[in-house]
């Protein structure tokens, strides 16, 4: 008779042994199952697999390369708490992006309140941008783009970033924001129009873009 590998008698002791599986090689379905079963190794594997995605979305949404670590941690804490509600483990990435947008929405609201209290002062763009863009004009252009995003609504901003900067499909944006496809399209159209308007009326950006246009073949 074959004994249960998880329950062995050894010298009178009942020993429960964790199955030896390489979780890093398992797919999202297996990974979610392992987490829900209480496998202590599984959360780390999920972190290793998806931390970069969360960092990237938060950075691109907020316009800063650093100081998003606390938010990333918050996203994963939400994720692990709400993982039992995930019906289809195959949708784990979408679920994670949804957790990210929830955290992002809260953070944007917090920053909006802070800006109001500081009478419109905008937090400066991350100084470490310099390392990424030695070109001061390019750096300034990115800074102005995010200044424009600060002027549009939070929901529009998130939709804009996910669609135009992160490059998500419309359906993915809709899922991440918890919206219908039609609402997502309307929101993106509105966001795009407002961003275009602000770009067109930003003399500094217009000058920069004109130069780029002239330099391009």
């Amino acid at each position: 008779m074959r004994s249960d590998p998880n329950k062995m008698n050894r010298g009178g002791a009942k020993i429960l042994v964790l199955p030896a599986a390489d979780l890093s090689a398992t797919d999202d379905t297996g990974l979610v199952s392992a987490i829900l079963a209480g496998d202590p190794r599984a959360p780390r594997v999920l972190w290793d697999r998806y931390a970069r995605l969360v960092y990237r979305i938060l950075r691109r949404s907020l316009g800063q390369q650093h100081e998003v670590e606390d938010l990333v941690q918050e996203v994963f804490l939400h994720l692990f708490r709400r993982l039992p509600t995930l019906r289809d483990p195959r949708t784990l990435p979408a679920f994670l992006v949804t957790m990210t947008t929830l955290t992002l929405r809260h953070e944007l609201r917090r920053r909006w309140v802070r800006r109001c209290m500081l009478l419109g002062a905008r937090e400066d763009i991350d100084p470490d941008l310099r390392a990424v863009h030695p070109n001061p004009e390019a750096r300034q252009a990115v800074s102005r783009l995010y200044a424009i995003l600060d002027k549009i609504g939070r929901e529009e901003r998130m939709a804009f970033v996910l669609r135009f900067i992160e490059g998500m499909e419309l359906t993915e944006v809709a899922t991440a924001l918890g919206l219908s496809l039609a609402t997502t399209k309307r929101r993106l159209t509105h966001a795009r129009a407002r961003v275009d308007h602000h770009i067109a009326n930003d003399p500094g950006l217009a000058a920069y873009l004109s130069e780029i246009d002239e330099e391009s073949p």
Partner: protein, 428 residues
Amino acid sequence: MKPSLESQDSDRALRHLCELARTTFTDELSPREQAGWSRLDAKMAGGPRPRRILAVGFGLAAAAAAVVFLAYSWNQKSPSLGFRIVDETGVPHAAPDLDSAGRIEFSDGSKVTVAAQTRASVTAIDALGARIRLEHGRLSAQFVQLPQASWSIAAGPYQVLVTGTAFDVSWTPDTRALELWLRHGSVLVKGPNAGQGLAVVAGQHLLASATTGQIVLDAMAPAVPPALPTLSSADLAPAVSPASERPALASHEPSRAPRAAPAARAPAPEPSLTWPQALARGDFQRILDEAARRGLDDVLSGASSADLAAFADAARYGRKNDLAQRALLAQRQRFPQTLAGRDAAFLLGTLDESRAGRDAQTSALRWYGRYLVENPTGSYSGQALGRRLVLFESMHDRAAAREAASLYLAKFPSGPYAAEAKRIVETE
């Protein structure tokens, strides 16, 4: 002429700016960010923060031991248990900074002895019990068996759920190992690989590793070396656990404390048991029966302060509040200058709070006020101040509630009632 984008392709401009944003904000992680998992893991081990709960710190032991106690929801009907922290000599401390072991004494008679080099916290407390987090080191716990009692100890990803029992538990963060020795009763251990919970009964020993996922449940070794120092004659029954599995104890431990004991204690009552000892074992009926045999008047007029305190506690736990009240009043009358005599004022307040009606609330307020006059820095002072602001609020005495809230915030700005106090002050 000022350049304008009106004539330019807005699509092209937008694409360029978005491309700039993409190349600027990447998913490259700094070394610190790559190490973010460790921080997240530590946060998850800390568990979700209960809402409407605040913390107060407390230090224990040579390296760092702390007890943080948090508050409870305001809509509970029964008043919360009280507790106090004493050092190894049994002296209470409102905010102790101790060099060695200490003990948390709950008002229902439950006790948790904290070993040296241990860090633990009481994260929530209510009428039915408390939630304790063991961050590292070892505790020896004895919880009084009361109906619907609810106690739990969290260590890393594990939870030890208790109804009324005595056990030792240790948590080693470095190896993420939980170890448990059950002396009386039973507990339910939840955590990785424990499914819906693993029942551990008296005489069993559990070793669980959150790193490997292994859980070993076996019989406790027959050898019965001493547990934590018990610190006072009225303290816990000694624990039983293999000496090799216990952390080294400080050489200056009180030699009077440790005592060896059999793994399975005989349930028969011991004739020589003092009332405080009987109380520590949860044998309330024994105390009440003996008091009845001696005669209530004799007890109230002739018992020692320690026996009166034990009798009052036994009566309270036995839901005989009238007896408890008489014992506490006798304590105050006969031993007004003692700690027990002063603490009796607070306990009389909690008894009044358990009764319905405005008169009872007024009386509770009076007792809490008296306790604060006699013990402005006493171990129950924070709770007395907090209960006062809650009572004033429930009696719709806004001015008094605001005054009490301000006083509370001045003394305990991050105490368990601080959130409610701030709400009251800000509302006004």
